[in-house]
Symmetry: C2
Subunit: 114 residues, 2 copies
């Protein structure tokens, strides 16, 4: 993995393995990814706390990792997970952190247009 | 949106609106997001080229934006898109940039475990 582009971090996209819903995006350093692989639970690096945190370590809403995919540039990972606990991933109590939409886009002029 | 955490950038996760497959992760600055919303095509900020680039502007494989979702912290966006052109999003010719898996995880000990 290439940790050089973001000062030691890579984005980690968390996707529900069953529904394919994108649940959250966190950041990992090398140690967080190693711990995730070793334990089977998603562990991130908190930029605000400057420390590792295993998602759900207090709430019980851990994320059990089913598969880890790496992108072509090796600077991002995609984790397919099973939600444990009450299954609500967001700290607001929502199932996903992506629960708000920006106002609708105007549609592109044509599907075939390049 | 909060662009302060990554020196003016936010991660943008690109998800196929039909299949729900995660296709790539790019970065946007405020101008890239504005152009994405104005044109309806995903536009990123290239960290290596230090410039905006509209995905597919040369290949024709543009990403037509169907919906933009914002996360709870307003520091990440999720774009649901329709793949145009030949539909291959990755520069390697693969449909998605996430085409490689890390070796299988050992499964967590129990689903109910917290």
């Amino acid at each position: 993995m290439d940790y050089s582009k973001l000062n030691g971090l890579i984005p980690a996209v968390i996707q529900d393995a069953e529904s394919s819903e994108v649940l959250m995006v966190g950041f990992m350093n090398e140690e967080a990814l190693a711990r995730t692989r070793r334990t089977g639970y998603a562990t991130f690096f908190s930029r605000t706390r400057n420390a590792l945190w295993t998602k759900g370590e207090t709430s019980g809403n851990r994320l059990a990792v089913r598969e880890i995919l790496v992108d072509c540039d090796e600077d991002t990972v995609l984790l397919k997970v099973t939600r444990l606990g009450d299954g609500n991933v967001c700290h607001t109590g929502e199932r996903t952190c992506f629960f708000r939409s920006l106002e609708p886009q105007r549609p592109p002029r044509s599907h075939g247009e390049v």
